[in-house]
Structures are given as structure tokens and as C-alpha cells.
């Protein structure tokens, strides 16, 4: 049974001074089953906002139709309906009504809403005096109290402090577990992976992928990397040494896998003999932050001509996904000889099943009679277990 059926919808916008109409969505179809959590990812301009607006009924499709079974609440820009001159309490009633709650329903839930938002002492202050964080928290608190069947979340998790975000995650998890259907549109890929059962990838107004969130996120990351502009590296003619080729080789020549060994080979071309040379390969998260780095360590003395640096990683701890790779060849003192940002993409395949950001190599033993303490342990098996 599907709560949301999106049936070949297209949306055309007329843009002034542009003769061609612009299709924000074209022939998009998908379904979301009852109790399912669907993530939608895509670059800016891929049609996510239009899709949300169509699902909410804010705008109608040019072609096709959306069928909803159940009450849908969109949680798009929480607090959009606040009136600055009204107090927090009055705004709860106004915003609740805008979101489709009845007066009685709000009266019944106001205590819980206030508690969730944590704005208690400021409830009787006009919201124009609130900080932006308080604004958002109050808005979110109202939204999650909707008796809704289908919940639409758009980038809401990007707001609030850490503690509030954690609370939102818990609440969304609760809603999901209680059988609500959820659509989450976000650039927060970790949230998509954590909360969704399935994901869609939108590109240029079309659904290009539909499936397992992890696979969709990887496809999206790869697409994003490919779309990145080449940082440009200028002429290599004057450089005394250039990085020529970077290759990765997993276990037995296979792909890179979490928990497996990985060999990384960097071929270089030195035009003259050089002393104190350091080779560094950096791996970056999709966010652009440095994930980890491998280095040749102490400066090496090289002769003129081609050569190769081989890095051996006995056990790859990086989580599955895509990492952009930078290569730097420098002097021990820090002088850069060659610098190749984002010159390659490392795809790490799922190896050991892990949750979190990286694989923690470990061993585990369960002993039936621990020394010292008299704790009773039910296990009779005394063998040493290696946890996977």
C-alpha cells in the first residue's frame, strides 16, 4: 500500500525574457509505501524544491498527478508562519492552524510543544525578540506535534544546536517507528542514510536513481565530484618533479574495501635529482574536509627519471563511499613541488559491515568466569570470538 503515488508529474515554469519554457520536473514517478522513509537527494536546481511544493499542494503539476493517502504535513521552513508581534504562545496557535491543526488539538498539545521547544520562560514574549535558534525550535516543535500520516522534511535538521538536532533525530525516528510515512529532502547525506529506507536521486528534473540510500548517496557523491571544476594545475614544464599516475589496488587486485588491505601506487617523473622529497596522498570526505592522509614520511633522495612510490595500507578503516584524493609532492621543509588537488576519486566498497564513520579494528573475547568479579555470565561458549 502506497501513501504517496507520484504519477508522471512534470512542472513547467515560464520565465520572463526566456522564450523556452523551463521544466523543473519532467516525467517524475515514484511511490512511497506506508511507514516507509524516503530520502531525496540531488544537486541544487535538480527539482527538489519543486517536488516538495507539489507534494504539499503549494503548487500544481503541469502534467500528471500526485495521489496522497493520508494527511500530509510539510515541514519546509519552520516558523514561516510566525507573526513577529505575537507572543510565542499565540504563534503556536497561529502556526498550528496554518499547518492544519484544530484549535482543540493545539490546546491539548501546547504543553508538550512548549516542553519540546524549550522556550518555556519566553512563551509570553513576542517572537520578534527570539533568537533565530528559538524561532526554529518553536517551529519544529509545533510541526512534530502534528497528527500527520505523511511527514515531509526539508533541510530541517541543519538547524538548531547539537542537543536540539539530537532531539529532532529521536523524534523523527519515533515518528518513523510509529508507522508514519516520511519524505526527507536534504543535503545532509548522513541524515538520509540514517533515517531513510530508500532514496531517490534527482538530476535535472528527472529521477535518475531509486533504491538503497547508501547506493544513491554514492551515486550522488560521484556525480557531484564529476561536476566539480578541474582545479587547474598550470604548466608542469618547469616543475622539477610531477606526479604522473595514481592507482589503487585492493585485496588480490580487487576494489578497495573497508577492512581489507589497500595498496596505493604513485608514479612520478623527476626531471633532475632531488633531495628531501615527501609524497603525501590525502583523502577527503564528501564535505571537503580532510578524512585521512598517508605520507612517505622522512624526505627521500631521488634521482632524475621516472619512479614509483608504493603505500601499503594493511587494513583500510575508511567507511564505504567516495573520497576525493589530493596528491602533494613537497620538500621536507614544506616547499611544494607538485600539488594535485582532487586529482582522483577513491571508491571504497562495503567490506566489513560497520556503522559510523570508520572501521575500528578490534577483537573481542567473552569469558564465562571473569577473574575477580563474581558476575554470572550466561554464555557457556568460552571460545574467543572475533566480531565482524
Amino acid at each position: 500500500m502506497s501513501d504517496i503515488v507520484v504519477d508522471r508529474i512534470s512542472k513547467r515554469y515560464r520565465i520572463p525574457r526566456l522564450r523556452e519554457p523551463f521544466w523543473a520536473l519532467r516525467g517524475v514517478s515514484f511511490e512511497v509505501g506506508r511507514g516507509e522513509a524516503l530520502g531525496v537527494v540531488g544537486a541544487n536546481g535538480s527539482g527538489k524544491t519543486t517536488l516538495i511544493r507539489l507534494l504539499c499542494g503549494i503548487t500544481t503539476p503541469t502534467e500528471g498527478e500526485v495521489r496522497l493517502d493520508g494527511r500530509l504535513s510539510g515541514l519546509v521552513d519552520v516558523g514561516a508562519g510566525f507573526h513577529p508581534d505575537l507572543t510565542g504562545r499565540e504563534n503556536i496557535f497561529l502556526n498550528g492552524a496554518i499547518l492544519g491543526m484544530s484549535y482543540r488539538e493545539i490546546e491539548r498539545k501546547i504543553g508538550s510543544i512548549v516542553e519540546f521547544s524549550g522556550i518555556g520562560p519566553f512563551l509570553h514574549l513576542p517572537v520578534k525578540k527570539y533568537s533565530s535558534g528559538m524561532y526554529v525550535r518553536l517551529g519544529f516543535a509545533i510541526s512534530v506535534h502534528l497528527d500527520t500520516d505523511i511527514l515531509l522534511l526539508d533541510e530541517v535538521l541543519a538547524v538548531g544546536d547539537i542537543e536540539f538536532q539530537a532531539r529532532c533525530f529521536d523524534r523523527i525516528g519515533q515518528l518513523r517507528d510509529s508507522g508514519k510515512t516520511i519524505v526527507l529532502v536534504s543535503h545532509d547525506l548522513a541524515a538520509i542514510e540514517r533515517l531513510c529506507d530508500r532514496a531517490l536521486l534527482l538530476a535535472h528534473g528527472e529521477v535518475t536513481r531509486n533504491g538503497d540510500p547508501r547506493a544513491i548517496i554514492e551515486a550522488y557523491q560521484e556525480e557531484s565530484y564529476r561536476a566539480l571544476p578541474d582545479p587547474g594545475r598550470g604548466s608542469t614544464a618547469q616543475r622539477p618533479i610531477v606526479a604522473a599516475r595514481l592507482t589503487f589496488e585492493g585485496h588480490d587486485g580487487g576494489p578497495a574495501r573497508t577492512g581489507d588491505p589497500l595498496t596505493c601506487r604513485l608514479a612520478y617523473e623527476a626531471s633532475r635529482a632531488l633531495g628531501d622529497v615527501v609524497f603525501t596522498v590525502s583523502f577527503n570526505w564528501p564535505s571537503g574536509y580532510l578524512c585521512t592522509e598517508i605520507s612517505s614520511g622522512a624526505g627521500a633522495n631521488l634521482e632524475a627519471g621516472p619512479g614509483e612510490v608504493e603505500f601499503t595500507i594493511p587494513l583500510l578503516v575508511m567507511q564505504r563511499g567516495f573520497y576525493s584524493v589530493d596528491v602533494a609532492i613537497s620538500r621536507g621543509g614544506g616547499e611544494r613541488l607538485d600539488w594535485r588537488p582532487r586529482c582522483s576519486l577513491l571508491r571504497v566498497d562495503p567490506g566489513r559491515i560497520i556503522a559510523g564513520d570508520f572501521y575500528q579494528d578490534h577483537r573481542c573475547q567473552i569469558r564465562p568466569h571473569p577473574t575477580g568479579a563474581g558476575a554470572k555470565v550466561q554464555h557457556s561458549d568460552s571460545s574467543v570470538t572475533r566480531c565482524n
Binding site: R53, E63, D69, V76, D85
Partner: protein
């Protein structure tokens, strides 16, 4: 979440253009479902309007009174052939007129002020202009209380004819709602409307006997003059309040019919442009 399992799950279909009948039926149903919002938005208007002003609710009376003083000074030489003083005569016309003018101007600007919200959440958009009409209606009732007090002070005794103002006001509300929806819908495509509106309202005021007696309208114009439902309603309102005259049924039926047709047409037009508020605004 304490949703009982038996709660009916509404089915919604979002698709392009529907037939006018569907629009009306669905619209009425949605409005019923969102009645809490009508209430909340109307209360918001009232609270916000008077919250930060020193005189608060007195403004509901001060605004028409200012007009009374102004026009009283200008037109006091006009013979009204009435026993009541001219100021009271103007007051009785300005009270319903102020309702029209305030509704129309606040509803129109309110639509623009809520654009961000309109892009974020779905709710029946007509609630925005209608909440402004409802809020003005409160002002009207308040001002009417003062008007009745002034009338009895001036010597007219309250009579059953006052009940005649109920259908008059009901029809006036429908008519004003129709105008508000029409202008709200049109201003998406034509932004000049909001600029021209004060002028249009000024002109509109003089098409009805608000500040002058209808007797000064030239004879050749009289026939057309009374085609205007606003003129009929304001005149009937004044007669009911000051002269204890029951409104003519024929006039009421004419105005009510016109108001209903106007409301239907402008509602359909409004609903047609509803998505344009998001897509093009």
C-alpha cells in the same frame, strides 16, 4: 502521537486544472477543514492591529470620526433634508464605507505580505484576504455601537428597523469579500493594482452616498447610480439606522444576487491564480 487507528485518512489528489464545480466543492470543504485557521488569522489581525497602538480599539471609531469631521467641514452646506445633523448623516455612511475600504486595502497588501508563507505551506489561500475582511467586520461592529449611541443621543429612537441592518451587512460582507478576492487574484499579474488602489478606493467612495446625500446626484445619472450595489447598501444602512426605514426587499435581492455571482466568479479566478502566487510571484 496519539492518532487513533480509526481516524479517517483523507485522500488527496494534486493535479492540474479542475472543473469550476470541483473547485467550489473542494474549496468549501477545505475552508471547513481549516476553520481554525480562519479564526486564528482573524484574531492575529485584531491583536496585531491594536497591540502596539496607544489608543487601541478606539481607532476603530477614530478613523470614521476623522472622515466625519473632514467631510462635515467641507460639505456642511449641503442640505440633507433630514432632521438629523449632517455629521451624523456622514457618520452613518462612513461606518459601512470604512469597512469596505479597510477590508480591501488590508486584504490586498496582506496577500503580498504573506508571500513567503504561501510558498512554504499549503492552506486555502483565500483565508488570508478573508481574515482581513473578518477583522474589519469587528471594527465595523464596534463603530456601529458608537454610531447607534450617537444616533440616540441626537434624538432618534432605536427601532426594530435596526434589524434590517443585518441582511444589509451580510450582503455587504459577501460583496466586499468578492472584491478582495478579485483584487488579490489580479494583483499577481498586475502589480500596478496595489499602487492604484488608494485612488480607486477614493473614486469608489464617491460612487456611493457616503459623504453626500444621493439627492444631489443629477436626475439623468440616478438610474445608473442605483445600479451600484454599494450605493444601495450604504443608503439602506443609513436609512435603517437614522430613519428607522426597513430596507426594500427588491434592493436586497438584487444586491445579494449580484454579490453571490461576484463572489463565485472572483473565487474561481482566485483559485485559478492560486498556484501563480507561488510560481510567478
Amino acid at each position: 502521537m496519539t492518532l487513533p487507528l480509526t481516524a479517517p485518512r483523507p485522500r488527496t489528489v494534486i493535479r492540474p486544472l479542475r472543473s469550476p464545480l470541483d473547485v467550489l466543492v473542494e474549496g468549501a470543504r477545505a475552508l471547513l477543514r481549516y476553520r481554525s485557521l480562519v479564526r486564528a488569522m482573524t484574531l492575529t489581525r485584531l491583536k496585531v492591529r491594536y497591540r502596539q497602538s496607544l489608543l487601541g480599539w478606539l481607532w476603530a471609531v477614530l478613523q470614521p470620526l476623522a472622515l466625519v469631521v473632514l467631510y462635515g467641514a467641507i460639505f456642511s452646506h449641503l442640505a440633507t433634508s433630514r432632521p438629523t445633523p449632517y455629521a451624523l448623516f456622514v457618520f452613518a455612511g462612513v461606518v459601512p464605507w470604512a469597512f469596505c475600504a479597510t477590508s480591501i486595502s488590508t486584504a490586498t497588501s496582506g496577500m503580498l505580505a504573506h508571500q513567503h508563507l504561501i510558498k512554504q505551506v499549503y492552506f486555502p489561500r483565500e483565508i488570508i484576504p478573508l481574515s482581513f475582511v473578518a477583522a474589519s467586520l469587528f471594527d465595523l461592529l464596534f463603530a456601529m455601537g458608537v454610531l447607534l449611541a450617537a444616533a440616540s443621543y441626537a434624538g432618534s429612537t432605536p427601532s426594530w428597523a435596526l434589524l434590517g441592518t443585518l441582511p444589509i451587512l451580510a450582503i455587504l460582507v459577501l460583496l466586499v469579500a468578492a472584491i478582495c478576492l478579485l483584487i488579490s487574484a489580479l494583483q499577481i499579474g498586475i502589480r500596478d493594482i496595489s499602487v492604484a488602489l488608494p485612488l480607486v478606493l477614493q473614486v469608489l467612495m464617491f460612487t456611493a452616498p457616503v459623504v453626500y446625500p444621493a439627492t444631489i446626484v443629477p436626475a439623468w445619472l440616478q438610474e445608473f447610480y442605483w445600479l451600484n450595489p454599494l450605493a444601495l447598501l450604504i443608503e439602506a444602512f443609513r436609512s435603517a439606522v437614522l430613519d428607522a426605514a426597513t430596507p426594500r426587499v427588491g434592493d436586497l435581492v438584487y444586491c445579494a444576487g449580484l454579490a453571490l455571482v461576484a463572489l463565485t466568479v472572483s473565487y474561481l479566478l482566485f483559485k485559478r491564480t492560486e498556484t501563480a502566487f507561488v510560481d510567478e510571484a
